[in-house]
C-alpha cells in the first residue's frame, strides 16, 4: 500500500464516518455539523485526484454557502422560535421507503461504476486545471454555462422579490 492509497482511505474514512453520523445522530445539530467534515473529506478526495479547483470550489460552495444556510436554519428554528425539530424515524413506512430508495440508488451507482467509461491517467503529471476549465467553459460547454447563468439570474431576481416584500 503506497502513500497515495493511505491518503485516499484516510479521506474516504472521514467521508463515510461523518456521513453516517449525519444520518444516524439523534441531535440535528450534530448532523448538520458532521456534514462539514463530509464536505471537507470530499474536497480532500478531489485534491488527491489533481482536481484542485473542483476541491476548493467544493469547500467554497458547500461549506461556505449551503451548509451555513442549513446550520442557520437549525439554529434559529430550535432556539429562537422555540420549535423542536422532530428527529429520528417515527413509523414503519419510513423504513420501507428509505430502504427502497437506498437500494435503487446503490444499484444505479454500481451500474454506473461498472459500465462507465473512466478516463485513466498517471497520477504524477500534475498541472494547473483552472486554465483548461476556463477555456472549456467558454468554448465547448458555453451552452451549459449560459443556462446556469440564467438559472442563477432567475434565483437572484426571485430572492430580491421576496426580500423586498413588506410583511
Amino acid at each position: 500500500m503506497d502513500l497515495f492509497e493511505i491518503i485516499f482511505y484516510f479521506f474516504a474514512a472521514i467521508v463515510l464516518v461523518s456521513a453516517l453520523v449525519v444520518v444516524l445522530s439523534k441531535n440535528i445539530m450534530y448532523s448538520a455539523f458532521s456534514l462539514l467534515f463530509t464536505f471537507f473529506g470530499v474536497a480532500g478526495l478531489f485534491v488527491l485526484l489533481n482536481a484542485d479547483f473542483v476541491g476548493i470550489t467544493q469547500i467554497m460552495v458547500y461549506v461556505g454557502g449551503i451548509l451555513v444556510l442549513i446550520i442557520f436554519g437549525v439554529m434559529i428554528t430550535t432556539k429562537v422560535t422555540g420549535v423542536d425539530i422532530k428527529e429520528g424515524i417515527s413509523g414503519k413506512l419510513q423504513y420501507a421507503g428509505a430502504g427502497i430508495i437506498t437500494l435503487l440508488t446503490a444499484i444505479f451507482l454500481s451500474l454506473m461504476f461498472i459500465n462507465g467509461k473512466w478516463i485513466t491517467g498517471s497520477s504524477t503529471d500534475v498541472h494547473a486545471t483552472i486554465h483548461q476549465i476556463g477555456t472549456l467553459l467558454m468554448t465547448k460547454y458555453i451552452l451549459a454555462f449560459e443556462a446556469a447563468a440564467i438559472l442563477l439570474l432567475i434565483a437572484f431576481i426571485g430572492a430580491a422579490l421576496i426580500g423586498r416584500r413588506k410583511a
Binding site: M29, F33, D52, I56, T57, I59, G64, G65, V68, K79
Partner: protein, 353 residues
C-alpha cells in the same frame, strides 16, 4: 521516499516557525493597538511591564492562562469547546499559501543548488481561492460560539457576524477578480511577480476601485471597527465571546489578531507589490536568489505589513461604528454593484488593449 521525507520535514519546520511568528505577531499587534490608542486618546498606555511596557502582551497572555475557565451551565458543551478551535485553526491554516519573498537558492554541501520557497506552499495554483474558501469556513467559529453559549447576547453576536461575513465575502471576492484579470493567475506568487519594478506597476494604480472595495470588505471580514458589530460592546456586552473566559476567550482574541495580519498581508500582496521595493530591485546590486536579497525582501514585506496594521489600528480609534442596517446597505447596494462595474470596466479595457 527520501525526497518525500525531506519535504515533510521542511514543511513541518516552516509550519512551526510560521505559527511562532503568528503568535508573536499577535502580541506585537496587541502592544501596538494599546500604545496607538493611548496616543490617540492622549493617554500614556501600558508602561509598567518591561521597558515602555513591551512585556504587557505577555503579561496579558499569562493572565488569560491563569484565569478560571468558566463554563455556562446551560451551554452546549461540545460546540462551546470546539468553536474557539475552529476560529484559531482557520486563522492559522490560511498562512499555508502565503508567500513572503522570492525563492532563495542555497548551495548544498555536495554542490547541488537547492531552491527554497519562502512559505509553506506559496506556489499553489489556487492560492487566493484557498484563502477565500478558508475565510468562508471561519464563519463557523463565530456562529457556533454564539449559538452554543445559550445566551441572547452571544446568539445575536454570532448571527450578526455570520450575516456580515457572508455579505462582505461577495464584494471581497468580486474585487479580487479585477486584480486576477490583470495578473492572469490565481497564484499569489505570480500576482506579486507581476507587480515588480517601479511602484507604478503596483496593482493599486491599475485597480484603484478594487483596492477601495477590497479594503472596506476586509475590514468587515476582520470584524474590525467600523464594522465590529459582532462584538459591539454597548449593545451586546461582548458579542459572540460573551460567555467565554480564560484561554478560550484568548483563542478568539488571537484568531482576531491573526486575521487582521492575514487581511493586511493580502492587501500588500494584491495591491502593494508584495515584497518588492518601490524601485527596480536590480539597483541594489544583489543577485536574484541570494540570501541577502531574501532578507531585504522580507524586511520590505515586514515594513509594509507594519504600515498597514498601523493604518488599521488608526482607523479603529478614529471612525465610529456603523449601524447594522447601514452596514448591510453598504455591502449589498454600494460595494457589490461597484465591484461588478469594476469587473466590466476592467474587461472592456483589457479587450481594447
Amino acid at each position: 521516499m527520501n525526497d518525500l521525507l525531506l519535504t515533510i520535514i521542511e514543511v513541518l519546520i516552516k509550519g512551526m516557525v510560521l505559527v511562532t511568528f503568528i503568535l508573536l505577531g499577535a502580541a506585537v499587534q496587541v502592544y501596538l493597538e494599546r500604545k496607538i490608542s493611548a496616543f490617540i486618546q492622549g493617554r500614556i498606555g501600558p508602561n509598567r511591564a518591561g521597558p515602555f511596557g513591551l512585556l504587557q502582551p505577555f503579561a496579558d497572555v499569562i493572565k488569560l492562562f491563569m484565569k478560571e475557565d468558566i463554563f455556562p451551565k446551560l451551554a452546549f458543551k461540545r460546540f462551546h469547546q470546539f468553536a474557539p478551535v475552529i476560529s484559531m485553526g482557520i486563522a492559522i491554516v490560511v498562512y499555508a499559501v502565503i508567500p513572503f519573498a522570492d525563492p532563495v537558492k542555497i548551495t548544498m554541501a555536495d554542490g547541488t543548488v537547492k531552491e527554497i520557497v519562502m512559505g509553506v506552499a506559496p506556489n499553489l495554483n489556487i492560492g487566493i481561492l484557498f484563502i477565500l474558501a478558508m475565510t468562508s469556513v471561519g464563519v463557523y467559529g463565530l456562529t457556533l460560539a454564539g449559538w452554543s453559549s445559550n445566551s441572547k447576547y452571544s446568539l445575536l453576536g454570532g448571527l450578526r457576524s455570520a450575516a456580515q461575513m457572508i455579505s462582505y465575502e461577495l464584494s471581497m471576492g468580486l474585487a479580487i477578480i479585477g486584480v486576477l484579470m490583470i495578473c492572469g493567475s490565481f497564484s499569489l506568487s505570480d500576482i506579486v511577480t507581476h507587480q515588480k519594478g517601479w511602484f507604478w506597476h503596483w496593482n493599486i494604480f491599475a485597480q484603484p476601485l478594487a483596492f477601495i472595495i477590497f479594503m472596506v470588505s476586509s475590514f468587515a471580514e476582520m470584524n474590525r471597527t467600523p464594522f465590529d458589530l459582532p462584538e459591539a460592546e454597548p449593545e451586546l456586552v461582548g458579542g459572540y465571546n460573551t460567555e467565554y473566559s480564560g484561554m478560550k476567550f484568548g483563542m478568539f482574541f488571537l484568531a482576531e489578531y491573526s486575521n487582521m495580519a492575514t487581511g493586511s498581508i493580502l492587501l500588500i500582496l494584491l495591491f502593494f507589490g508584495g515584497w518588492h521595493l518601490p524601485f527596480p530591485q536590480e539597483w541594489l546590486g544583489l543577485q536574484t536568489g541570494s540570501i541577502a536579497l531574501g532578507i531585504v525582501q522580507l524586511a520590505v514585506f515586514l515594513f509594509k505589513l507594519l504600515a498597514v496594521i498601523f493604518f488599521i489600528i488608526w482607523v479603529r480609534w478614529t471612525v465610529p461604528r456603523f449601524r447594522y442596517d447601514q452596514l448591510m446597505h453598504m455591502g449589498w447596494r454600494m460595494l457589490l454593484p461597484l465591484a461588478l462595474l469594476n469587473i466590466a470596466v476592467t474587461g472592456i479595457i483589457l479587450f481594447i488593449i
